[in-house]
């Protein structure tokens, strides 16, 4: 199961990388966001999958699942969400200012 998850993470990272390398702003945002999701999956996988019951007192199980990666991933998702919101606003604002979402035209070398 872990191997499958890691392969999935790899596929997501390659899709994200492909999108980040494109020129349109919105595609880059999506790419960054997909890489973020891939990383979240990796964190969940790092604690091992399906190794026991919920980590609560009173559960009479042989083993308990590791709760720490789940706490980490919750924080990571929230941060990822906030950052994506900021980036989307910024992209919209810069689209309004420049009238383009083509990164090629936002290089900025001509002013130097």
């Amino acid at each position: 199961m872990e191997t499958l998850m890691v392969i999935l993470v790899g596929i997501l990272v390659s899709i994200g990388t492909y999108l980040i390398l494109s020129k349109q702003l919105l595609r880059i945002v999506l790419g960054v966001s997909i890489v973020g999701h891939a990383v979240n999956l990796l964190i969940i996988t790092s604690g091992g999958l399906k190794t026991g019951s919920a980590p609560l007192l009173g559960e009479k199980a042989a083993g308990f699942a590791d709760a720490l990666p789940q706490a980490l991933v919750l924080t990571a998702i929230v941060i990822n969400f906030a950052v994506t919101a900021v980036v989307l606003v910024l992209c919209y604002r810069s689209y309004q200012s420049f009238g383009t979402d083509d990164m090629e035209q936002l290089r900025g070398n001509e002013h130097e």
Binding site: V39, P69, L90, S94, F98, L106
Partner: protein, 491 residues
């Protein structure tokens, strides 16, 4: 357990949250944020003295014992950086009072500024790797907004690159966290240090160490500085100064912490690699600083050179080298704020950052000129100014450790700093005065005081170095003995 440790994080955080409510009341915002930052200075001085008397201080948040809870750990290294951070933030805040503009002051400038300081202080104090990531994000998100304050076209353009670069670096940070957790099963820095010394730092862990090095090098501008000249030259002066003074330094702090506490077993791989990166950084930064004739570009490339130089001390792993790095780090936090504030003031006066169109400012602004001269000499390392001790000790340490090439490149980079700063000084301040008082685009009213404040602090750091020698020596000793840190956390 020492509850004072949380104060440098919680003071700016709570003040910032309160200030959101008083959005329209500018006077109240100014006073409260100044008071919060002054209180941070006081707490960091108190902390420094407690650490001097009682060793490393810790706080287990929520009463959860390490390694299960989040630990805050204050050693002398973090306390010194906290003090430098809060002094610089007061300077930049006072500069912002008369330069940032009413409109921005109403658009949450002060809360964002305080959140930035919260994140920086948090990164210095945390003893948990994931918490370090969270603190990084706190100040990064604040910086994403601060860099666009004003909303000029070039700000939007550069901020997009800055944000995407940092998001990708943060993703790598999380990947590193996940790998390290699956190898060792812990994220508490002290616990990580114990477990890695037990199982040995094999190839897998060294690879993860390099991954962390890439992440922090991106934040610190160690070789991966491609985003830095663009994004540090667009925001308003006060913000550019706080960025230049603090943000790269947090990356440097993280590299120091990780490679003295956790990944210190294979210095012939990791530390040599850092040394090569530092050497290339100094060479390229030096070329950039001496090649450009744009004031802001010269200053940003000087930030890059100093990152390389501070890293050289870490590479040596000798007491002298680490002591030198700490001196130079504190000096650099102050001095970069000063030169960026002066540079911004020049642009404010003349309306251009091209050195070809600036000349003879010293006739009308002698104070500005001489403060810049002091800062330039201090950056080069002329005794008795503050850069001197850092340069001497770092160079000594690097030569002791046998990295002659690195030491020579460091000294050559100092010459390039000298060349670039004197070029700036001669072009901007000497020569024929081409602007009369009426023709200037702005005044220096209210702008000179904060610069003078920081200059006095910087000169005091150099002349009164005797007073902090004990503190710096203790910081270096704690960095070189990871056991002191581990014992303090698990006491």
């Amino acid at each position: 357990m020492n509850n004072l440790l949380i104060a440098p994080i919680i003071l700016p955080l709570l003040t910032g949250m309160v200030l959101i409510v008083f959005q329209k009341n500018i006077m109240l915002q100014r006073i409260l944020s100044l008071v919060a930052l002054l209180a941070t200075i006081v707490t960091s001085v108190l902390l420094m003295n407690q650490i001097r008397d009682g060793g490393i201080q810790t706080l287990q948040l929520g009463g959860w014992e390490a390694p299960y809870g989040i630990s805050l750990v204050g050693d002398m290294f973090s306390a010194l950086l906290l003090l430098a951070t809060s002094i610089v933030s007061v300077g930049c805040l006072v500069y912002a009072f008369s330069s940032i503009g009413r409109r921005q002051e109403k658009l949450y400038f002060y809360p964002l500024f305080l959140f930035l300081i919260t994140g920086v202080n948090g990164s210095f104090l945390t003893g948990d790797l994931f918490n370090l990531y969270v603190c990084f994000e706190v100040f990064l998100v604040a910086s994403y907004v601060l860099i666009t304050v004003g909303g000029a076209k070039r700000q939007l353009r550069e901020s997009l690159k800055y944000i995407f670069t940092n998001i990708i670096a943060s993703a790598f940070f999380l990947i590193g966290v996940a790998y390290l957790y699956s190898i060792t099963g812990t994220l508490n820095l002290a616990d990580l240090s114990i477990r890695i010394s037990e199982i040995g730092q094999d190839g897998l862990i060294t690879t993860v160490a390099i991954l962390f090095l890439i992440v922090f090098a991106m934040k610190a501008g160690l070789l991966l500085y491609f985003w830095l000249p663009g994004s540090y030259s667009v925001p308003p002066t006060a913000i550019a100064a706080i960025f230049a003074a603090l943000l790269t330094k947090v990356g440097i702090y993280a590299i120091f912490r990780m490679f003295t506490l956790v990944f210190y077993h294979e210095p012939q791989i990791t530390h040599l690699f850092i040394g090569i990166l530092a050497a290339i950084t100094m060479i390229l930064g030096g070329l950039g600083a001496s090649g450009y004739s744009d004031l802001r570009k010269i200053l940003t490339y000087n930030v890059i050179i100093s990152v390389g130089f501070i890293m050289a001390g870490l590479v040596s792993l000798t007491p002298a080298g680490i002591t030198g790095s700490i001196y130079y780090l504190i000096h650099d936090i102050l001095i970069k704020a000063i030169v960026f504030l002066i540079g911004g003031t020049i642009v404010h006066l003349t309306g251009t950052s091209d050195l070809k169109n600036i000349s003879g400012l010293i006739r009308l602004h002698p104070q500005l000129g001489w403060m810049f001269f002091i800062a330039a000499l201090s950056m080069v390392g002329i005794p008795p100014l503050s850069g001197f001790l850092g340069k001497v000790f770092t160079t000594q340490g690097v030569f002791e450790a046998g990295y002659y090439w690195l030491g020579i490149i460091g000294l050559a980079a100092s010459l390039l700093i000298l060349y670039s700063m004197i070029k700036l000084f001669m072009n901007a301040f000497w020569g024929e005065t081409i602007l009369s008082v009426e023709e200037e685009k702005g005044t220096t009213k209210g702008l000179l005081f904060p610069i003078a404040l920081l200059t006095v602090a910087s000169v005091a750091l150099g002349v009164g170095a005797e007073a902090i020698t004990g503190y710096v020596a203790q910081a270096a000793e704690e960095l070189l003995n990871p056991n002191l840190y581990i014992q303090a956390v698990f006491e």
